[in-house]
Amino acid sequence: MRASILRSPSPLPGFGLSFGIMMTVLSIVVLLPIGALLGRGLMIGPGDLWGMVNSRRIWAALSLSFRAALIASLFNLVFGLILAWVLVRYRFWGRRFIDAAVDLPVVLPTAVAGISLTAIYAPNGVFGQALAPFGIKVAYTELGIWMALIFIGLPFVVRTVQPVIEEIDREVEEVSATLGAQRAYTLRRVVLPTLTPALLTGFALALARSVGEYGSVIFIAGNIPNLTEIAPLLIVIRLEEYNYNAAAAIGIAMLLISFTMLLAINVIQIWSRRRIGLV
């Protein structure tokens, strides 16, 4: 097995064992289950699959999941950039604390985030009460879904952009200034282009995560069909009705979105490696 797979010989042992463990676990945990979903799709057939997905309720759910994820990720793109910049470039009291706290959404279970966001933004919650006089309702509306997805996606752009900002050579900025550029012009024309690949990667990662997000959203969303019902919830509903084929149809649609996203991330990284040698 070793000689047939390896492209060049290595003096180190353990290829068969480590490769074997890797492929076995990968197959059992990831590939077989995904294969089962795709296989079910093939069994149903593309025509019937399309028929099952092509209903108003499912389109509403899919487009809501995508739209809310897009809006939240765009917010996180801008805020993440500012946050990363402030954390790397400025010195202020509590900086390290804020830096550590950025990863809170990664470690806080989504269901916990979901119920606590609902508690805050519900009509009788702290923020809910404060926003009520302005006629703004967050919980049980699409706005609530945005808030949940902003929370979930917050760390991605920060964490991909931060290392790149740390590596920027300040001399380049000095040169730009000596050549007569205003600070804003330097930021826009010199700094921003170096950050673009990392920004796009972080944005795509946040988007991929938010499109499929379930735990933090279902509590705050209200889950009204056609209005605030996200696609993953629709899968859960179909499964609870034991309608496996309909669940599989929505699942395949979501899987296609995931694959597209993954492809986009890879393309961005290849492009950025060619362009400036950074990932």
Partner: protein, 287 residues
């Protein structure tokens, strides 16, 4: 221009003072609203009716069995993923073979698949109306709506954590040290345990830490595969949902507070690792 004037003016590589203060202020306010408010709310809601009510709800049989199940699932899923991560990192970084990039993409796949879709995949693979499911039923093996399904679902969603952390570190370290150990007569295992493992121990710990946090908090995938059988397949996050939907707010938030506290511990350990061993963690983080 004299030196005095230079020292007083803003350096050319930073923004004007006012801009800096506005940006820092905006960031602090948004972090308070977006991150800290929900965190504080968990503890505030848990203690809404006092310590006794909160602690009392955690002592209920349902809460206790949920805590036990979550710990058991993590105790199985996390070590398995750690073994996978180490094996994958060894195979990928110490050897050169075709299709490596594609393999890494496959390992990363669970990051971009919705947890609910992950659960759905497992139900379709092992459920009663699949061929594997029929075989499993014939041999009296329960996966869907049972403990093994929860472990599989948890492994799926936490799959890339350890491998993703180890691979960049091991790429950077190369294989010269292991080769030296082998030349000096060490066996492969000895080279692994005395050279490789000590070199990546902090990165491994880092990956395991994040893997564990996600494993204990996983909701979507487990919600689909567990069947939510009270006292049997209800992990802590599932129990939180049930209690919340039954309007048992204090009980739901008390259980949530336990998980939030665990998240804070994880965050603290993770930050300590980043501050003390930054150079030994994945290259994409701090330098």
């Amino acid at each position: 221009m004299s030196d005095v004037v230079l020292a007083q003016s803003t350096p050319v590589t930073t923004e004007p003072r006012l801009t800096r203060h506005i940006l820092i202020g905006a960031v602090l306010v948004l972090i308070m609203v977006l991150l800290f408010a929900p965190l504080i709310a968990v503890f505030a809601e848990a203690l809404a009716k006092g310590w006794m009510a909160s602690v009392g709800s955690l002592a209920s049989p349902d809460a206790r069995s949920a805590i036990r199940l979550t710990l058991t699932v993590a105790a199985i899923a996390v070590p398995l993923n750690a073994v996978f991560g180490v094996a994958a990192a060894w195979a990928i970084t110490k050897f050169d073979f075709r299709g490596k990039a594609f393999l890494i993409t496959l390992i990363d796949l669970p990051f971009s698949v919705s947890p609910v879709v992950a659960g759905l995949c497992l139900v379709l693979l092992c459920g009663a109306n699949s061929s594997l499911g029929a075989w499993l039923i014939a041999h009296d093996v329960k996966i869907v709506f049972a403990f093994p399904g929860i472990v599989l679902a948890t492994m799926f969603v936490t799959f890339p954590f350890v491998a993703r952390e180890l691979i960049p570190v091991m790429v950077e370290q190369g294989r010269a040290e292991e080769e030296a150990a082998l030349t000096l007569g060490a066996s492969g295992w000895r080279a692994f345990f005395t050279v490789t493992l000590p070199n990546v121990r902090w990165a491994l710990l880092y990956g395991v830490l994040l893997c564990n946090a996600r494993a204990m908090g996983e909701f979507g995938a487990v919600a689909v595969i567990s069947g939510k059988i009270r006292g049997e397949t209800t992990t802590m996050p599932i129990m939180i949902e049930m209690l919340y939907n039954e309007y048992l707010s204090v009980a739901a938030f008390s259980l949530a507070a336990v998980l939030a506290f665990l998240a804070l511990v994880t965050l603290t350990l993770k930050s300590l690792l980043e501050w003390r061993h930054a150079d030994l963690l994945a290259a994409t983080r701090r330098h």
